[in-house]
């Protein structure tokens, strides 16, 4: 049953043969080439590092075979909730690889980087318009770093006003990076209870809102895929106590052209370019996490800020109240080019259509599955829906088992066990780039699994059986971590 093609069990070191090589480097064209003549002996490595010795054919074949063991959006439907696994346009890749972008050194003179700076400035302006914010920094390397950036700016804001606040409020439905980033910024995290549908519990919020709270961080729509309708009331309550409101922008794909964080009362929001704006996930990054702010936070933006003077652009370092820097250079420029290309491809109507179709697709899936799986909340969802495999769990089939069985049926699994407040959670985000045919095939598979849970639960628990490996011993991996290849090993 398992594809013969998929059964490949090599690690590159195992293909090594002494003397084989894959690189092509020129001969030395300068007079003195002996390292021993140029550096003191103590600095010179005695033995070369134990890297593989393989041919170019070995390299191509090995990594091609490795790739065949992966599921990607290019090959499989990938309904991972909250990750927005939408199609990654190939034109983005071409544009990011234009020599003027790809081969531009970050420290090249500004006069010689005007095209790159212009792109960054325009992208920041586009993201500001999309989010209803006043300014945007493109520096953070990922959503989590964006969160850190935003919280540090809030911290600087309070300090500048002569206030030292110690707490940040975060709902129990939040993504793990929210409390982690907050802790990194030096704040204590106070967890708020969510209501049944993941909405903010206004009583709990009122109870905890005081002048020692620096910020309230929420995801909008929330992590159950529902729009928090009382958001104006919430942001007003917070502002009345001097509390800044932060929006985790992971779910922005639901609201493009429909509503904007800035119009809802948020002071800060971050963007996940690798979610909403199609930059590829790459097996776990790189991403990009720009942050949008209202003007009262502008003095605290990280340096440098891309500034425009009449017709030219420059890097502005003179920001005395800046929180500093998050990464060495100016941002994940390669990802910025891709996002910019996407926004220019879609235009305002296209972006609106993205969210409308994202919402439509998620509701269609919800409708088709609601008879067989428990909903986590009533009413329509936004761009993702959260189901509970509670019923299946009683039959001995967990959300994990369902996820694994989907792999056998040719789909990547939804997110499981997130948000924490839903039992046996299955979070499904189809995205707008999927067709009805694909959604129907996925729903058929989910319904089939629900049936199997009733008639043959062991079949589901044994899954997956068609993937290159079956379920893996996580306990062994954690008890006896083997984190690097050793010559004598295996």
């Amino acid at each position: 049953m398992r594809s013969a093609r998929a059964s490949y069990d090599k690690v590159i070191f195992e293909l090594s043969s002494p003397g084989r090589f894959a690189c092509s480097l020129p001969a030395c064209d300068v007079p003195e080439s002996d390292p021993a003549a140029l550096l003191p002996k103590a600095y010179l490595r005695e033995m070369p590092p134990e890297l593989p010795e393989v041919s170019e054919v070995d390299v191509i074949r090995h990594y091609s075979r490795l790739s065949q063991m992966n599921y990607g959006v290019d090959t499989h439907f990938y309904p991972l909730g909250s990750c927005t696994m939408k199609y990654n346009p190939k034109i983005n890749e071409d544009m990011a690889r234009l020599a003027g972008f790809l081969r531009l050194h970050p420290l090249a003179p500004e006069a010689a980087s005007q095209g790159a700076l212009a792109l960054m400035h325009e992208l920041a302006r586009d993201l500001a318009e999309i989010s209803g914010m006043d300014e945007v920094t493109l520096q953070p390397a990922a959503g989590a770093q964006g969160e850190l950036c935003g919280v540090l700016m809030i911290r600087a804001y309070h300090l500048a006003r002569g206030e030292r606040r110690h707490k940040v409020l975060i709902p129990d439905s939040a993504h793990g990076t929210n409390p982690a980033s907050t802790a990194l910024a030096g704040y204590g995290v106070v967890q708020l209870k969510s209501g049944e549908s993941g909405e903010v519990d206004l009583e709990d919020l009122t109870r905890h809102l005081d002048e020692d709270v620096a910020a309230f961080m929420i995801t909008q729509p929330n992590t159950l895929g529902l729009f928090e309708a009382r958001i104006h009331q919430i942001t007003e309550m917070c502002h009345a106590k001097g509390v800044q409101v932060y929006m985790d922008g992971a779910n922005l794909n639901a609201i493009l052209g429909i509503t904007r964080p800035g119009d809802l009362g948020f002071d800060v929001c971050h963007f996940n370019l690798h979610k909403t704006f199609t930059t590829p996930h790459g097996g776990g990054g790189p991403g990009a996490g720009p942050v949008g702010i209202k003007s009262h936070l502008a003095p605290f933006l990280p340096v440098p800020v891309v500034a425009k003077d009449a017709d030219s652009y420059r890097l502005d370092w003179s920001r005395p109240q800046s929180i500093g820097k998050l990464q060495a250079f100016w941002g994940n420029f390669g990802m910025l080019v891709r996002a910019y290309t996407y926004i220019r491809t879609m235009g305002p109507n296209g972006l609106r259509s993205v969210s409308e179709n994202a919402v439509l697709n998620a509701n269609y899936v919800l409708k088709r599955l609601e008879a067989d799986y428990d909903r986590s909340a009533p009413g329509p969802c936004m761009h993702e829906c959260v189901l509970s495999a509670r019923r299946q769990k009683r039959l001995g089939v967990s959300a994990t088992d369902i996820a694994k069985r989907l792999l056998d049926l040719g789909f990547y699994a939804p997110s499981v066990y997130f948000p924490l407040i839903v039992e046996e959670a299955l979070m499904i985000e189809p995205t707008e780039t999927e067709s009805k045919e694909t959604l129907d095939a996925f729903c058929d598979a989910m319904i089939q699994i629900a049936r199997e849970a009733e008639s043959d639960p062991q079949l589901v628990r044994d899954a997956p059986v068609t993937t290159p490996v079956r379920r893996l011993d996580q306990t062994l991996a954690a008890r006896q971590p083997e984190l690097r290849w050793k010559a004598s090993g295996r």
């Binding site: 996580q474 306990t475 954690a478 008890r479």
Partner: protein, 130 residues
């Protein structure tokens, strides 16, 4: 059936204490190890460290979860189970025996009154199971 030895005292955080004179041997309960799943790592204090009742003294990790360990009583750590560094699975296999974690020389034995009896702990975990 529930594995709650009658001769031990318990905390609400699922630690057990076996008191002998002014020494208390401490570990986590059968219920706790079952909830955690396969234990992969236990972080314990050094001999000589001071612990405070109901404050953290270490961490127990499984593949998917991490739990803080809470001291049932205040005092000084006089023994630490070195076996757990090599064989954390003992916590799962024998939580009340070989899976013991530390021995505390207690500062104030009156603190025992704050701990749960076996009967009360059984009620606690029965409620938690729903």
């Amino acid at each position: 059936m529930s594995n709650v030895p009658a001769d031990l005292r318990y905390t609400r955080e699922h630690e057990w204490a076996k008191v002998d004179g002014d020494r208390a041997r401490v570990g986590i309960t059968a219920f706790a190890q079952e909830q955690l799943g396969d234990v992969v790592f236990v972080e314990l204090p050094k001999v000589g460290a001071r612990v405070t009742a109901m404050q953290g003294f270490g961490v127990v990790e499984s593949v998917k979860a991490v739990s803080d360990l809470f001291a049932p009583l205040s005092g000084e750590v006089v023994e630490v189970n070195g076996e757990l560094a090599k064989k954390p699975e003992v916590v799962n296999a024998d939580p009340y025996g070989q899976g013991w974690m530390i021995v505390i020389k207690c500062a104030d034995l009156k603190q025992l009154d704050g701990l749960l009896s076996a009967v009360d702990y059984e009620k606690l975990i029965a409620a938690a199971a729903h």
